[in-house]
Every structure is written in C-alpha cells, then in structure tokens.
C-alpha cells in the first residue's frame, strides 16, 4: 500500500515537472528562434548601420535598414509615458492605500482593475477617434497622430500596473512604523511620505519598471495613434516604435525586409530582457529587506 502511494507521488511529480518544462520550452524556443532569425539580417546590413542608421525604407529599390528612429522613439515614448503616468499612478496608490475611505477605495479599485482589463485595441480606437483629432485642434497642427498621442495612450495604459503594484507595496508597510511616526507628532501626510513611501520604495520602483515594460512592449494601441512613419522622434511628428515597425510591415514582407523585422524584434527582446533583469533586481532587494 505504501509503495503504491509512493509510485503515485512520483508519477504526479513527473507530470508537474513536464507541465513546468512546457513554459521553459516555450521561452527557449522563442529566444532561440528570434536569435537565429534575427542575426542574419544584422550581419548582412552591418550592426552599426542597422542600429545607428537614420533611414528606414525597406521596400524602395535601394533599401535602407536603419532603426535608430525606432529605438529613439521607443525610448522617448516610454520615458514620456512614465513621466506622465507614474506621478498620477503613484499618488493614486498612496491615496488608495492610506487615505481613501474603504467604500471609495473599493469603487476606485474596481475601476482600476477594469482599466487593466480593457483590450489595447480599444485604447487605440478611442485614441484614434478622440485623442488624435483633439491634439490636432488643441495645438493647431495639421495632424494629431504623433508621439504625444502615443505617450498619452501609453500613460493611461500603464496606470493600472503602477497603481496596483505600488498599492501592494504600500499596504505591506508594517503598521507599527506608521503608528510610531504618528505618536511622535507627525501629521498623517508627513507619515505617508516620510515613513510609508521610503519603506515601500523598492516595491514602488518595481511598479515603475513594470510600467516601462508594458509601455515599451505595446504595439496595437500605439500603431493606431502614432502615424507610423519612420521619422526621427519629435513630439508633434508622426513616429514609428520598435513594436509597430515589426507589426505594420510583417504581413507583406519578404526576403531581407522580413529578416530585418526579426532583427528589430530581437533588439526589442533584448530591451525587455534588460527591463526584466532590473525588475528582478528591485524585487529581490525588497525581499531581502
């Protein structure tokens, strides 16, 4: 009887191991595929020309494959979204975690979760129909599809992750810290910003990094509001991100153009790996504390 149980245990362990390996297998498969299909074009174009070339015209008779405009656009776009989204998200999180009455907290919390559940194509559609014409009229420019429109959309999209993760971090701060601060005569607001926030800072940093990851990887919504022309980034210009460069041309591409798209995906993949590494670093530090 005991033996039978042992066999069953082993079998179940084996099944779980296989299920776990499926995930690892997928990651490995995608990474290997991306590297294998991304390297040839980089070698053919030359890494310097590819990464620092300012001209992208993949289908012209004399094609150019420089992705510097895409890289800079992705960096500027993400930075803009962080500058706009993090203050709003962070302060909302402080309010929700510390100040808001429970009923209001439940309502706002539900709204935030709902925001997280909206598909990105809906963000794009609303951006295209409301935000783009709005920007055109507000700033008096010929067309509103621009880096600014993309930044606004991305800022809204990162709000839920920034709010949720910072909230969790703030709520995990031991109540004793705050009580001590209050007992020493600090006002509640002083307590939140001098005691709670510093104690939760690695969690909040993780929220910011998560936001960066979400913003840099978004394709659909951005494609619908940014205009998709391979210009060097400028706030009111039509721009193309790393993600949209891959997505907009993939369906019709062939030959070196397609290989170059894989190389762009590889560059994006490396960016995201870097962000994940940073995230892990922050999370680890917050655990060690």
């Amino acid at each position: 009887m005991k033996n039978k149980k042992k066999v069953l245990e082993t079998v179940i362990h084996g099944i779980f191991l296989i299920l776990g390996l499926i995930t690892v297998g997928c990651v490995l498969l995608i990474s290997v595929y991306l590297v294998v299909s991304g390297i040839p074009a980089i070698r053919e174009i030359g890494i310097i020309d590819f990464l620092f070339g300012k001209e992208w015209s993949s289908t012209s008779s004399d094609p150019e494959y420089g992705i510097l405009p895409f890289i800079l656009t992705s960096i500027y776009g993400t930075a803009g979204a962080i500058l706009l989204g993090v203050p709003i998200g962070f302060l909302s999180a402080v309010y929700l975690a510390k100040i808001a009455p429970p009923k209001l907290k439940a309502v706002i919390g539900a709204a935030v979760s709902l925001l997280a559940g909206i598909p990105s194509v809906v963000y794009g559609l609303v951006g295209m129909l409301v935000l783009v014409p709005g920007i055109r009229m507000l700033f008096g420019i010929p067309d509103g599809a621009s880096l600014l429109a993309a930044i606004v959309v991305l800022a809204v999209m990162i709000l839920p992750s920034v709010i949720k993760v910072s909230m969790t971090a703030l709520e995990a701060v031991p109540k004793e810290y705050e009580d001590a601060s209050l007992a020493l005569g600090a006002t509640p607001v002083e307590t939140y910003f001098r005691v709670s926030v510093p104690a939760a800072k690695s969690g909040i940093a993780a929220a910011v990094v998560l936001g960066i990851g979400r913003a840099i990887g978004e394709a659909m919504a951005v494609m619908m509001v940014s205009g998709n022309v391979a210009n060097m980034p400028s706030i009111f210009q039509s721009v193309r991100f790393l993600t949209t460069a891959v997505a907009s041309e993939m369906s019709y591409s062939s030959g070196l153009q397609r290989q170059a798209l894989f190389s762009i995906a590889l560059v994006l993949f490396l960016f995201i790996l870097l962000i994940n590494a940073t995230l892990n670093f922050f999370l680890k530090r917050s655990k060690e504390k």
């Binding site: 015209s57 993949s58 289908t59 012209s60 008779s61 295209m128 129909l129 783009v132 014409p133 055109r136 010929p142 067309d143 509103g144 599809a145 494609m223 619908m224 205009g227 998709n228 022309v229 039509s238 193309r240 997505a247 907009s248 041309e249 369906s251 019709y252 591409s253 062939s254 153009q257």
Partner: protein, 267 residues
C-alpha cells in the same frame, strides 16, 4: 474514468464527422491580397451555396505572401491585387485577371476640392504641393495619409502615379478602414483606398475630370486602377474542386456578384 471515456467518445465522433465532410466535398484554399476580401468572400459564398460540402478558405495575408504561397504549393489559388512581375512569371506563375479595382482618392467631406489631375496628385504626394490653396482649396497644410510599405493598394497607387519611394506620408496606416476613418476625421487630409470599400464618410475626388465608377474603370478612362488577379502555377493541374471554383469565378455569370462586392468585372 467515466468522464474520460465519454470525452474520448466525443473526440472520436467529432473526428469522424469532420473527416467525413472533408472527403465528400473537398477544399479550395486561397491566399493573398487583403483588398480582394470582399470579392472573394462573395464568390466563396455563392460557390459554396451551389456546391454543398465544398469549403473555400481565404487567408488574407497580402499580395506578396499570396504569390509566394502558390509558388511553394501552400495554397491552390493565390490572390494578388497587382499584375505579376516579369520575374514572377519566369518563376512559373500564371495570372488570370478576375476583376478590376479603382483606387479612389479621398478627402474630407468639408474640403471644397473635387477634382485633381493625376500630375497634381503625384506632386501632392511627393511634397511639391503642400497647401490646399495651390489646388483650389482652403488655406491649410495637406496631410498625406497612405498605407504601409508592401501593401497592394500602396503599390498600385504609387506605380500609377509614378511616385514610388518618393511619397512624404504623414501617416502610414495598416488598413483601408483606418485610412477612411483618419481622412474623415481631418479636414486637411487626403488618402487613397480601394473604390470597393469607400464609404459616405469621405468625399471621392475625380481624377483628370473623370470620377471613378464601374463604367469609367472598365473602359480605362479612370486612370487610378489596378487588376485583381488569380495566380496559379503554370502547367500544374489544379485539384478538381479548385478547377471548378476557378472556372466558376472566371465565368460571366458571376459578374453581378463581383460588382455587388464593389469591384469591376473584366467583361
């Protein structure tokens, strides 16, 4: 255990059901141009109604991919919204013109301009004319809306207007619908889209005095047009079902269906 057995049974029944329908009717696979979606969709529906059990599949991947798919034998009939290039014919492909499609030049309904010459369209897209007042419109910077690199409509438009690689687009969008939505939302925008999919939310311009319609596309007086072609392997025999589909869609009896879908039949 009971659950497992019943699941297996369900799977088996499903398998039998599906394989049965496959062997009786047969499938025709088509692959290619996204601009041909309406036409192929309508023809597929009519053909499937007349031949029960036959399935026609359509994979909207783009003209280039469709042509490659035929060459590699991944589909029966390739769909291309441009004529085959000489080197593609040399690789062993044959084209059959299914229909013609006018590319409409569209502007916002509030724009007073209603006619442009082909030459002026080229100049506008090359960035030589940048203000609507130079072509008889209001004072406003022209906003050029186009399609992404590789799109059949873009390829068709640029080769007809002779502006290849020279267009100074403000926006490159990935679908006809997006182009129409964007043009309808910006008073100074100009764009191009397949005549078949143009809606009332935008104004269609006439070119050199000829407004696009079935008649003007057919007799060639409307210049901005392109063919919808069916691509097959030269010499290779199609499957029986694919051949009968091919015969059906190139016959004269379907011309009503083609025009109802917005394209212009050849004859």
């Amino acid at each position: 255990m009971k659950k497992f057995i019943s699941l297996t049974l369900v799977a088996l029944i499903a398998l039998v059901a599906f394989s049965g329908c496959g062997s009786k009717g047969g499938t025709v696979s088509t692959d290619g141009s996204t601009s041909m979606e309406n036409v192929i969709g309508a023809l597929k529906e009519a053909f499937e109604k007349e031949n029960s059990g036959v399935t026609v599949t359509y994979n909207p991947t783009g003209s280039g991919t469709g042509i490659t798919a035929v060459l590699e034998g991944r589909c029966d009939i390739g769909l291309s919204s441009r004529s085959l290039k000489e080197e593609e014919k040399a690789e062993g492909l044959t084209e059959t013109t299914l229909a013609l499609d006018g590319i409409a030049i569209i502007v916002n309904p509030s724009n007073p301009v209603s006619d442009l010459s082909l030459e002026n369209i080229a100049k506008i897209y090359k960035g030589e004319i940048t203000n609507w007042k130079d072509v008889g419109g209001n004072d406003g910077e022209i906003v050029l809306i186009g399609r992404e690199a590789g799109s059949g409509t873009r390829d068709g438009f640029e080769s007809i207007t002779d502006t290849e690689d020279e267009c100074k687009y403000r926006q490159e969008l990935t679908s006809t619908g997006d182009v129409i939505t964007t043009v309808s939302g910006n008073p100074n925008a100009i764009g191009y889209a397949s005549l078949a999919s143009v809606k009332d939310t935008v104004k269609v311009l006439s070119v050199d005095g000829v407004s696009p319609s079935e008649a003007t596309v057919q007799d060639g007086s409307y210049k901005v047009q392109r063919p919808f072609v069916l691509v097959t392997k030269t010499g290779a025999e199609l499957s029986e079902t694919a051949q009968s589909f091919m015969d059906y869609i190139t016959s004269s009896e379907v011309s009503d269906i083609i025009s109802a879908a917005g394209a212009v039949p050849v004859k």
